[in-house]
Subunit: 343 residues, 3 copies
């Protein structure tokens, strides 16, 4: 990753840092890991177990913990911080704004915005966007190219809506929400009545509500509720290609990793963590702080704080124990055959 950043600008981010070494390199031109960094780069020590790599790093500037006791090499500068990872985050946030220039405010000449849309100041509506009747959009929100914001939808302030997102009719998005490319909010719920051997559609009249500070990954789909709402709670982070069915309620601060599938009417309490490709049968309740391992299959309610794995899911320790014993099955069958008194 290449860019140009004055050393002074970096130092000004950390007014209370301690510095050690040379400030001879005035221009920083990249960020890289300790091993990959070259002269002119900035690097960092996030995990104490990699301390040794600092000695060998060719980075010109290093973000280090306050108690780091090594010595900078020639033309190298140590910046010591109480929380180097927070310092790095601060720096990256600034870099992000430089590297990914925000689109200009206003409505792109190729976008189509219906007459009765209400937009606060500094909203950007990108190329080929369609914004429907009665939509409201909060200040500083960026909507990139090819998005569809359906009739009566609500979008809060300071959101980033990446290219090709669909926020369908009446759905509601809070503030500081990030929707990655291809997200669909408000697809039709999957529900059918069996009528005369056929499947007759159950209309889904509700909406999707995405609360503040949520992120949703690329091509993830959230179906609208039958009558009221499917909901993603404040601060939850959902990865790419996740399926969230109609009437699902996800609590606050949850992490849902890629390709998870959550069937209709499932409820996740707050701070639940779900590993990639796990699946949930319909109408389950998952307690606060539960953890679900990747690829697990959940078919029953989950207690708060539980950590489950496997399909059918079981406590993770039991799953590990069984996994070990399964590998011993060939031996067990052999020994049993030898010891079988009936043989």
């Amino acid at each position: 990753m290449n860019f140009r950043f004055e050393l002074d600008e970096i130092l000004s981010l950390f007014p209370s840092c301690e510095i050690d070494g040379s400030t001879s390199v005035k221009l920083i031109e990249g960020i890289a890991s300790l091993e990959k960094a070259k002269a002119g780069d900035l690097s960092f020590l996030e995990n104490p177990k990699y301390r040794k790599l600092v000695d060998e790093s060719r980075a010109s500037v290093l973000l280090l913990p306050q108690d780091f006791d090594g010595t900078p090499s020639e033309n190298q500068l140590f910046i010591k911080l109480s929380q180097p990872s927070r310092g790095l985050a601060l720096l990256c946030k600034l870099l992000e704004q430089k590297l990914f220039a925000p689109p200009p405010a206003g409505i792109h000449s190729t976008a189509f915005v219906e007459n009765d849309v209400q937009m606060e100041e500094n909203v950007s509506v990108g190329p080929f966007c369609y914004v429907g009747n009665g939509v409201k959009i909060g200040k500083n929100t960026q909507i990139l190219s090819h998005c569809h914001i359906g009739n009566q939808a609500r979008i809060g302030s300071s959101c980033k809506i990446h290219p090709g997102v669909r926020v369908l009719t009446k759905c509601e998005v809070g503030s500081r929400v990030i929707l990655n490319s291809g997200v669909v909010l408000g697809s039709e719920g999957y529900g059918f009545d069996q009528v005369g051997g056929g499947h007759e559609k159950v209309p889904h009249l509700g909406i999707v509500v995405v609360q503040d500070d949520v992120e949703i990954g690329a091509n993830t789909c959230i179906d609208r509720a039958r009558f009221d709402e499917s909901r993603i709670g404040k601060g939850s982070k959902i990865d790419n290609l996740v399926q969230i069915g109609h009437n699902v309620l996800i609590g606050k601060g949850c992490l849902i990793v890629a390709q998870v599938g959550i069937s209709g009417s499932v409820q996740l309490d707050d701070q639940v963590i779900v590993g990639g490709q796990a699946g949930f049968a319909g109408h389950l309740k998952v307690g606060k702080g539960a953890k679900i391992a990747g690829q697990a299959g959940i078919t029953k309610d989950v207690e708060p704080g539980a950590f489950l794995k496997g399909n059918p899911a079981m406590p993770v320790q039991l799953a590990h124990r069984i996994a070990i014993l399964q590998r011993k099955l060939p031996e067990l069958f052999n020994r049993f055959a030898q010891s079988d008194p009936n043989k």
Copy 2:
């Protein structure tokens, strides 16, 4: 979910209903479950086991079975129907039309339609749609924003094509089909010849055929066939994020839940039900009415009417029995160690 609906309008939907209680509430402003309904709402009893909730419901109007023997509270009206769930469906269908106003017929000013496209009456082509050469579209079909209808594609009548759908070159869609946002019909099949250590593309020259009354969920992909067609049979319902490979043939009235993966040349007979995240190896045949549990891995042909679970898949009863015994493996190993005559 909020709306405004005259009580008389609701009653006129059910000419043969029996009513009991007060018609004092003239305006219905929402539909909700028995627990959530408040005064002014309509609610319903779908599952007899929730009968008790009727007594406590604050709904102003309730759709109930004919044999329901409770008494409406003050200002409450019971509407008794032979099939309350059908009544609810009828009402919801009407509501759907009110809540999700159909787009105006005609071609949106921002759409681009090639010269030789044939459209029957009352077709709607939404903002930023592209409709290619030689396309034919049947009457009353709605194509929402940002859709691509490829050259020589065919779309039947009364379809609803949600924003951002791609119906690629020559693919054929029947009548009354619903395609949710982000559906791709006709992506290139995944097939390669091994040539000199590399993977050389096998061109896929066929099409995708989607028959009448099919629904396809958001971001689902169906690859085109090598020579003839990949096909979704009449009335089958496919959920979100499903992968359907080249040359797959799906019968009539199947239900394919979210994130299922069906490899190339698999054939599903009619009325097959597949749970979420199940996967099929290539070239398999699945018999009529078979059921496949969620996350199952199918690697062999499946008999008609079979119900399989697990990976490798086995009859569901056996899978359940083994799941129980697996949890007893630690105990079995312990007991075996104790009884082992060789120890």
Copy 3:
């Protein structure tokens, strides 16, 4: 599949072929398998085990191996080739160009291309495409409708970018790359710092690099790296709905089947094959030529050439052996109960 192809045109593709039978059918109107072919069609024998089907085939023209010893029926022509499957591929490639006419070169009237874009000759930019600042596109590349090519992105020559693809800011695509509809390159990586009980975003400042001759399936997502690049190596083929996390490095000539999920920082060496719906935990290394069965769950590094299956994954022979023994668990528990000396 229907088309019109002169027999002479077909024969001219195979200057060194040997022919046997009648050249009376001058116009070929379809390609089909041996069973499905009718008079006027061309068919082929790819797999020697279907030799018998040749006798019954009604195809007018058949591509056969040089050592095929049957006799053509009346009005039937055998074309004998040293490699019939290569011959078929050659023919299909020609057909593909006829059936899927390339879009005209140039920028469609509805597309929007920023001023400082550099395009080589014969590039096609389709309807409603947006091409951002500083983009470079190589010669003969086709970009179909509704694509977003982000600022400073690079696209090589002779690529086919299907409708609705997003190549986001700064991402790099090589030459002869095929991106199917809905592909997202450069979505934000999924990484968060835990700060005060909440999840604080880790900015992802890197890019996605897709090397030459790669194909990527519909609605597949590849996240951008934290600092440097997520990379898909030359000639690798990725199927539909695959998730590839930030900083993943995929080697050359890999095959990744549909719905696979690869977590952040995983490294796949060259020629790795991954079956559908398999999943990888983060930060793993997978050796050259390893094979991973469908639905496997990989949580540890994988040796070169290994063939793993199951979750937790194990060598495929062991997995098969255990799968067989698992089905015998009911019997084992019964026999153990009988033989238990403590009972």
